[in-house]
């Protein structure tokens, strides 16, 4: 073979090698691009798994709750799916400077990638429910019923039309619904309620009143036996020990520095307008008497939190026994703003089937072991309209009864 031919072969080979290299570079870059995305996804999956495992640990072991020890997380890298992860914990304040929330940070590493998931928890409280019922014995969600907030039935959710007749539509649930034992129709065919935010069965959240904590927080302002009449006057409260007793007016910050006013083994009467964060409680630490709350007239906030974003007032009403609506004002429509909690009973309207017809507007939530009728359906009583106070999704009145579990407030990744 001549020299020219040899040069030609070498030349062509070089050209094809260069072309091949260029093509190969493109292919390698495309592969790297795909691998980069894949690696990022794997890293994310490891971080999500770590966060889920950490959250599960928190849900099961409940650090700092019920005297449980603090948990530091998993600070030594743990291998998972070809990568590693760590989980660290931190106690954080909310935007008002109050402690109680915890932040879990899961960091995953895979190859050169790092991915971080940060989850914020808070102790869950019953005020987060728009409606909570321990059971629905003999009570049904009828077509005219609607619940526009989170709802939990710690038993079976009954629905139907006890009045008889055909149903064209069912009850409406605008928020998330959880039940312990599922749902049951009164008669068939009954229209299934609308669960706009879904329904989850098999969730048990029993009522849990930590009496000793409220006693502790009420401290020297724990009243014992008899009656306690509270008339809220914005950031003050006028109180007396009997209907005709001497009235004492004190700043709420003075009488309840921890935000709790309580009476043990007695009856609590409330009314007025509030401009503070407060929980009022009627407890029963022992014996078989007391623990009842009686609402005597409107209980409202100074400004409506639905229109006033700066409204700081927040009320929790806690009763060991029933919370009775026994209003005697000259008007027939009443408003109660706050989250109502009854450990052994529920919210009841006194003389619901004989008292003058009106309406009861509740802004907040309603928790009790049972749901009771509030009107006779036609001529007497107080049909109820419970509107959820959206602030209760992330906040609660001071020391309001907790569910003994944490809930997730924010998930950042």
């Amino acid at each position: 073979m001549g020299r020219q031919a040899l040069l030609m072969v070498i030349g062509y080979s070089l050209i094809f090698l260069m072309t091949g290299a260029m093509m190969s570079n493109s292919t390698v870059d495309a592969f790297n691009n795909a691998m980069n995305y894949y690696e990022g996804n794997i890293t994310r999956e490891i971080a999500i798994s770590a966060a889920n495992m950490g959250a599960n640990y928190i849900f099961v072991n409940k650090p700092l709750m019920n005297s449980n020890p603090w948990w530091n997380g998993w600070t030594t890298p743990i291998k998972l799916n070809g990568g590693t992860f760590t989980v660290t914990m931190d106690s954080v304040q909310d935007m008002y400077g109050r402690w109680g929330r915890i932040r879990m940070t899961a960091v995953a590493r895979y190859g050169d990638s790092t991915y971080t998931v940060s989850v914020l928890f808070r102790p869950s409280q019953f005020s987060k429910f728009c409606l909570y019922a321990g059971s629905m014995s003999g009570v049904y969600f009828e077509p005219s019923d609607s619940v526009f907030g989170p709802c939990h039935i710690d038993g079976t959710l009954n629905y139907g039309n006890p009045g008889g007749g055909p149903m064209t539509y069912g009850a409406y649930f605008g928020g998330k619904v959880t039940t312990k034992s599922g749902i049951a129709a009164l008669t068939n065919p009954a229209k299934l309620p609308t669960f706009a935010q879904g329904r989850e069965d098999g969730v048990s959240i029993p009522l849990s009143l930590n009496t000793s904590q409220l006693v502790t927080e009420a401290a020297g302002n724990l009243f014992s036996g008899g009656e306690l009449w509270l008339n809220f006057k914005n950031d003050s409260v006028a109180w007396k020990r009997s209907k005709t007793g001497t009235v004492t007016t004190q700043a709420i910050s003075q009488i309840a520095p921890n935000g709790v006013i309580a009476i043990d083994k007695g009856t609590l009467y409330i009314q007025g307008q509030l401009d503070a964060r407060l929980t009022v409680a009627s407890l029963r630490t022992s014996g078989s008497t007391g623990g009842t709350v009686i609402v005597k007239d409107n209980v409202t906030y100074k400004t409506d939190p639905r229109v006033d974003p700066l409204c700081k007032a927040m009320l929790g009403v806690v009763g060991y026994g029933a919370i009775n609506i026994d209003t005697t004002g000259a008007h027939n429509n009443f408003t109660v703003q706050g989250s109502l909690y009854s450990q052994t009973s529920g919210v009841q309207v006194v003389n619901y089937n004989t008292r003058p017809r009106g309406n009861l507007y509740v802004l907040g939530g309603w928790c009790g072991t049972q749901i009771y009728a509030t009107s006779n359906g036609t001529t007497a009583g107080l049909p109820v309209n419970v509107t959820y106070d959206e602030r209760f999704r992330v906040d609660a009145p001071p020391y309001f009864p907790g569910t003994n579990a944490y809930e997730i407030l924010a998930w950042y990744e």
């Binding site: 050209i15 493109s26 602030r391 209760f392 990744e413």
Partner: protein, 215 residues
């Protein structure tokens, strides 16, 4: 010059011409292939970058570092249509992390024909991203299709545009994204126009923000 020499010259000219043609054809083909490969690469890179951005943003629907400022995340979606969505979130605006204040984020697909030019892909549209009231940002990354499909908790498709009363019913979102080369890759117009633009497609089924439905 003898007869043999003339035959050699003619023969060598024919062989040279033949080799030259082969070289030129191979060169043109290689350039086209290279261009196409580069176009494909660019297309995929654009797709990955867009995908990462969409996933990053959509996973934060309803998130706020200070949850008290956005107590009900199910109200976070303000507008939902097949090619546009506006929602509330807490963005990292200055690179130091979310600031705890609620921001609005608006994604929408621009109209056809915004990008003009001889070799430009006529199907390409601009995907805009508007944060709060800041100037709208959009870049030509070759988006030809950006389709959003909304599902309720029971996996039923919610018709678009989603009515305000139904916005809270949104449980998950399917995002379909197609990206094409923004300019034609063929040097010579030997291929039909459609095949001159490399295409990449991505679909995220049932993307659901952890914050959106957590309360």
């Amino acid at each position: 010059m003898g007869f043999q020499t003339i035959v050699d010259l003619i023969g060598s000219s024919v062989i040279f011409g033949w080799l030259f043609l082969i070289t030129m054809t191979a060169s043109t083909g290689n350039k086209e292939d290279f261009q196409a490969n580069q176009g494909e690469l660019l297309c995929q890179q654009n797709l990955v970058e867009l995908t990462k951005l969409l996933e990053y943003d959509f996973r934060k629907i309803g998130f706020c570092k200070e949850p008290d400022r956005l107590p009900n995340p199910t109200l976070a979606i303000l507008l939902a249509d097949s090619t546009r969505i506006k929602f509330l979130t807490d963005l990292d605006l200055d690179g130091t992390g979310p600031d705890g204040f609620v921001d609005s984020l608006y994604y929408y697909l621009g109209p056809l024909g915004e990008i003009r030019g001889g070799m430009n892909n006529p199907r390409v549209r601009i995907l805009y991203r508007a944060v709060n009231n800041l100037p709208v940002a959009g870049s030509n990354l070759g988006v030809t299709n950006f389709k959003l499909t909304y599902y309720d908790r029971f996996n039923n498709v919610i018709p678009t545009p989603v009515l305000p009363a139904q916005l809270q019913s949104i449980f998950s979102i399917q995002i379909s994204l197609s990206v094409e080369n923004v300019v034609a890759s063929a040097i010579v117009e030997t291929a039909p126009q459609n095949t001159q633009f490399q295409t990449a497609f991505w679909q995220q089924r049932r993307l659901s923000s952890r914050n959106y439905q957590n309360r």
